[in-house]
Each structure stands twice: as structure tokens, then as C-alpha cells.
Amino acid sequence: MRISPASLGLAAIASCLFAVPAFAGQSPIDPADTAFMTFSTALVLLMTLPGLALFYAGMVRKKNILATMAQSLAATAIVSLLWFVLAYSLAFRGDGALIGDASAAFLRGIGLDTVSPWARTIPEMLFSAYQMTFAVITCALIGGAAADRMKFSAFALFCVFWLFIVYVPSAHWVWGGGFLAQWGVIDFAGGTVVHINAGVAGLVAALMIGARTGYRKENFSPFDLSMAFVGLGLLWVGWFGFNGGSAEGAGSRAVYAMVATHLAACAGALVWSGIEWLHNGRPSVLGLISGAVAGLGTITPASGYVLPWQGAVIGVLAGGICYWSSTALKAKLGYDDSLDVFGVHGVGGVLGTLMAGVFATASVSASNGQAGISGLLEGNPHQLLVQAEGVVITILWCVIGTAVALKIVDLLVGLRVSSDDERLGLDLALHGEALHQ
């Protein structure tokens, strides 16, 4: 449960005593919430491995399929290890407005009975693992923007720097009690931290690395959309853990988040493909799955704050606006974001973070006698303003941080493969392997 910072302090102690009455006086760890969060953690990991790997690999050309998958696995391995080494602690421990502390570096201090103030009914180790899966998928998402031309070594190194420069502070600001949380920014499951960050970083990467050779001249159509479809299916199911699990426990708020998420995906898929139907005379499978992901990404920050039917409304907006940003806007600006990480996640993340400020319904986020968050529709325009501030700050920091990270990596190993390797395909050039040969 993302708890608004105002609710901390004395309330924290109080709720420990009263929130879980059947277990009062015992371990604060609730087996049902633990089961639920374990399940959510597995689902979010499933989103990256193999979900995102399939989704992305299905949209590239045949010669780059394995290399695209390798990026997801590398992000998982590298980010997970660094998470426990230090990143978790910097993001979720300590009171700093800008950054946490190193009190749980190398997992020190996370015992069998430790709980985090951010998830008071499950082992802190589980909370940390759950949050790890978010950091993993955020880094893995970025890879899609630079697909087909970024070096594997460069991507692996980039994950290291970007995690600490961009992700960790950003997560701390919004979820770890940092200044954005103190300002009142709400972000249930990662509109700013995950989607804006991934989308904006993807855009910066696409610009700094440059367009694929042959962009807008050669046919870059996906080799195997059935793979991308399966990836979308796993992402969708996994998103139940992503958004539902962000309630940090089994209960109605988690259920509300899941239903809002599901409806947003449905609406996004229908709207995106519907626009295609009107424009091009037929709905593409790529459009159906892109729209679903747009809906899923966009509802994410709002999911635990809004009523389920509002998820459908947000999904409609997501389908339309992300369609526009991934086609017209991209064409106009001319950058080559291979798999539209910016158009879908970046734009969707901004939209969703703002919509959270519009649709937030107090009753959904109220808990233990504390009032929930109201948005514009409930007469609180201030929330929308705060959300916009969160968006702007996240984008600014992400642009700077990503550029710095990429610059360092460029100096160390170079960002882009040779044009011969790009021709040959990254599978053979980088990994010495090829599909179907």
C-alpha cells in the first residue's frame, strides 16, 4: 500500500497495533498478505522473464531476436544483484528528502522478522524483492528504445549507472518518503518511477544512439508478432501483480487496482485498434497489443486511487493519446525509438500520473480511519498540480541522469555496434547465435 507520507509518524505505530487485529501482540507478519505478495512478486518477475523479452523480441527483425531477449535477462541479473547490494537501501531506507541511506546494504539488517514501514504486514525481505522486480522491469523497458543497434556490453553497463543515478532517487522521492511524497505526489505502482522514467530514458537513448540504419526506408516490420502477442499476454496477467500487489496486501484496494488495470487494458486495446480501423481500414494485431500495453502503463499510477470504471476511461485516453504519440508525434519529431518506449510508456506515464490527480477518489485510498486522496473530480485541483510537479521533476532528472549515464558508458565501451554488425544482426554479431538456422 503506497501510504501518503502524511499518514506516517504516530499513525504508523497506531496502525501496527490496530490494523491487523487477529494477530495483534504477535509477529506483525500476516501469512495471507505474505502469500499475496509472494504471488505478486512472481507475477512481476514473469512480466520481464519471459513477458517483456517476448513482447520486445516479437517486434524486432529476425536477426535481432535473441539479442533483444538477452537484454531483458541481463537487466534482471544485474539490477537484482545491485538492488540487494545497495539500491534497495538507498531507495527505501532512511529519512532523506533526496536519497535514503545504506543501512540495509548487502541485506544487512533485514532479518526474518523485519518489516518495512512501507509494507507493515509482510517480511521486509519480501517487500524488497517485490520492489526489485520493479527496478528490473524499468531497466529492461529502456532497452526497447535502443533495440537493434545498442551493444550488449553498453546496455549492461548502462543498467548499472542508470539504476543508481535515476531509478533509485526517483523511487525514493515518491515511494521512500522523499520530497515528492512529502509534497503529496501519488503514484500507486509506477507512473513516474517506472513508466515516465523508462519512456524518457528510452527517448534520450534513442536520440543519443541515433536511428537504426535504414530507418524509414527499409521494411522493419516485426518478424514474429505471435511472440509479441504472448509477451503481451504475460505482461497483462503479470500486471495484476504489478498494480494489485502495490496495495502491499490482499484486500479490496488490491482488487480495485486490478479491475481498474484490466479495464484500462481492454479499453486501450479497443481504442488503439479502433483508430487504426478508421485510418487504415483494418485493425492490426500490433495495434491491439500496443493499445493494451498503453492502457496498462497509463493506469498504473492511478490504479489504487481510482474507481474501477475510471480505469476504463483512462484506458480510452491512453489508447488514443499513445497511438498519436507513437505514430504522428514520432514521425514529426523524427527520432527512432525502435519499440516506442517513449510513445507508449513515457507518454502513458505522464498521462496516467496526471489522471491520478484528476480521478483520485478518497474512499479507495482511505485506510484505518485516515482520509484518502481526492483528485480534481472530487474538488481538489491541488492534487493535479502536485502531480504535474512530480511529472516535470521526474522528466528533468531522468533526462539529465540518462544522458550522463549514457555518456559514461559511451566513453567506457561505446554505445553502438558497427554498421557491419548492425547489418549482420546482433544475434550473430554479439552472441554468435542465430534463430532458425
Partner: protein, 112 residues
């Protein structure tokens, strides 16, 4: 001997095979090819960008026949594949100087 090469629409293969069988031409080699010609391809739209796919899937049928069978073979193929629509394909005839059946060592007409 002649090599008769036909570029046809993929779904016509079975009809061609049946027609040839009636002439007791019982050997052929088929490969998947892509063709470009008067028949236009289609446009694909991928995230807002249009690509023209100029090459269409076709089958190439190759039959080596005795000189005297060439005309009958061509007519059999045409009968099976002519739909009157653009893209029905082509038939080419070229010379074959010698032929072997690997298994038996038979040569030329006996090898077919």
C-alpha cells in the same frame, strides 16, 4: 531434355501436380520464392510508417522432361494455373544437356 520452370501462385500446386500426373510426369522439384512483377504487392503500416511489400509469395516448379513432353507439360501447367488474374505467373523452358539418377546411374531420358 528440357527444364520447364513455372512460377505460380502457391495454392495451385496440387492442381498442377494432378494434371502432370495424368501425363505420367511423376517428378518435380518445388521451392518457395518471392516474385515481383506486374502484380502489385501490398502496403504494411507499422506504427504509423508505411512500407510497400513488393515481393509476393510464389512457388517455383521445376520439371525436367523429355523434349517431346514439353508442349504437353506446358499446357497441363497452364490449365491448372490460369485464373485470368494478374500474377498467375510464367513458364520458362531451357535446355538440359544431361541427367543422372543418382541411385541407379541411369542417364538422360531414363533418369527422369
Amino acid at each position: 531434355m528440357k527444364l520447364v520452370t513455372a512460377i505460380i501462385k502457391p495454392f495451385k500446386l496440387d492442381d498442377v501436380r494432378e494434371n502432370l500426373q495424368q501425363l505420367h510426369i511423376d517428378g518435380m522439384t518445388v521451392s518457395e520464392v518471392k516474385g515481383y512483377g506486374r502484380q502489385k504487392g501490398h502496403t504494411e503500416i507499422y506504427r504509423g510508417a508505411e512500407y510497400v511489400v513488393s515481393f509476393l509469395p510464389k512457388l517455383r516448379i521445376e520439371i525436367v522432361v523429355k523434349d517431346e513432353q514439353v508442349q504437353a507439360a506446358i499446357e497441363a501447367i497452364r490449365a491448372a494455373t490460369n485464373t485470368g488474374q494478374i500474377g498467375d505467373g510464367k513458364i520458362f523452358v531451357s535446355p538440359i544437356e544431361r541427367a543422372w539418377r543418382i541411385r541407379t546411374g541411369e542417364t538422360d531420358n531414363d533418369a527422369l
